[in-house]
């Protein structure tokens, strides 16, 4: 069983300890292209006027990510962003947001624009796909579709590159997307190695 979530659904989600106390809101979802997994979250203080926090939450420190809250063992798991080079560095630079970026295949075909990132939240925090607003060529223009990602991928600035074969495994909803990602990755492994 795997649980897939849209990264933007995590924005503003409350971070709660197993003791039941709320300690922060999720700000950014930070992930690493090489390895394709979520490193962690940057945080806002609770409440409308709470600004960004200096502490971040690493994926390894999480208890669980659910639809209504991000659960952590206790408040001590938050670490200062300077102590986590990967997640904190990205937050410090404030850049690298993939939402709105163009997706191109390796053979130079533009598929669409990223509107969301799909994360497998059960175990590893694996980033399994993009939700894109498709260009005319892929589907009827403007339609949102799910595009599977390989285990690792190259991110180079504003352009996101995916293997051409990803087009064959496009899904319309999260229900069937997990299986599509598995098939796509299996094909990549057997096809290229």
């Amino acid at each position: 069983m795997s649980t897939l979530l849209r990264a933007t659904e995590l924005h503003g989600l409350v971070v709660v300890t197993l003791g039941g106390d709320e300690i922060a809101d999720v700000k950014d979802v930070v992930w690493r292209a090489a390895g394709g997994s979520v490193l962690g979250f940057t945080l806002n203080k609770r409440g409308l006027f709470g600004g960004p926090m200096k502490e971040v939450l690493t994926w390894a420190a999480l208890h669980w990510v659910g639809p209504d809250a991000v659960m952590v063992p206790d408040a001590t798991v938050l670490v200062h962003r300077d102590d986590v080079t990967g997640a904190g560095g990205a937050a410090g630079r404030g850049g690298g947001d993939v939402i709105g970026d163009d997706v191109l295949t390796e053979d130079g075909r533009r598929l669409g624009r990223v509107v969301d990132v799909i994360i497998e939240v059960e175990a590893s925090g694996d980033v399994v796909g993009y939700e894109i607003e498709a260009d005319e060529g892929l589907r009827s223009g403007g339609q949102r579709v799910l595009l599977p990602l390989p285990d690792t991928l190259a991110v180079s600035g504003e352009k996101l590159i995916v293997p051409a074969a990803a087009v064959d495994f496009v899904a319309d909803d999260l229900a069937g997307f997990g299986a599509a990602v598995e098939q796509f990755r299996t094909q990549l492994r057997t096809g290229t190695s």
């Binding site: 409350v14 709660v16 300890t17 197993l18 003791g19 039941g20 106390d21 709320e22 208890h63 669980w64 990510v65 659910g66 639809p67 209504d68 809250a69 991000v70 659960m71």
Partner: protein, 138 residues
């Protein structure tokens, strides 16, 4: 017995045969899944430890002397929000509505069930009672 039945029940000092106050709330230890103290209304202080209760009867809570009523200790007794009406969240971050009532054993104080509008949650699943939610295991 349920929290909503037990609320407002009279607390009687058996040595003086007089009323001390009324049950205004419950302090629950999420680790032992049991009521550890009662909150008392209309008394000088507002905590009566469960161990100091002589009997949790159908019509009244009895205590041997009014001197058992004391000030809340720092921490849980002072800060714990009321379970009734509080949001229920499981440890996987899924909400389960709010606590409508709590079924407890009037002998031992053990919490048997948390009742939400949707389900009965076994008291043994209690993990934490905090400012945001009651956290239960899955």
């Amino acid at each position: 017995m349920r929290f909503t039945e037990a609320l407002k029940r009279e607390i009687v000092d058996t040595s003086a045969a007089s009323s001390i106050g009324r049950v205004a709330g419950f302090v629950v230890d999420p680790r032992t899944h049991a009521v550890t103290a009662l909150r008392v209304k209309k008394a000088d202080h507002d905590i009566l430890a469960w161990d100091d209760v002589s009997a949790f009867g159908v019509d009244a809570v009895t205590v041997d002397t009014a001197a058992r009523i004391r000030a809340p200790h720092q921490g849980v007794e002072a800060d714990q929000p009321s379970l009734l009406g509080h949001r229920v969240l499981d440890e996987r971050g899924v909400e389960h509505g709010a606590v409508d009532d709590v079924e407890f054993d009037p002998e031992s104080g053990t919490v048997r069930y948390l009742l939400t509008s949707r389900e009965e949650i076994d008291g043994a699943r209690l993990r934490g009672i905090g400012t945001w939610a009651v956290v239960v295991s899955v």
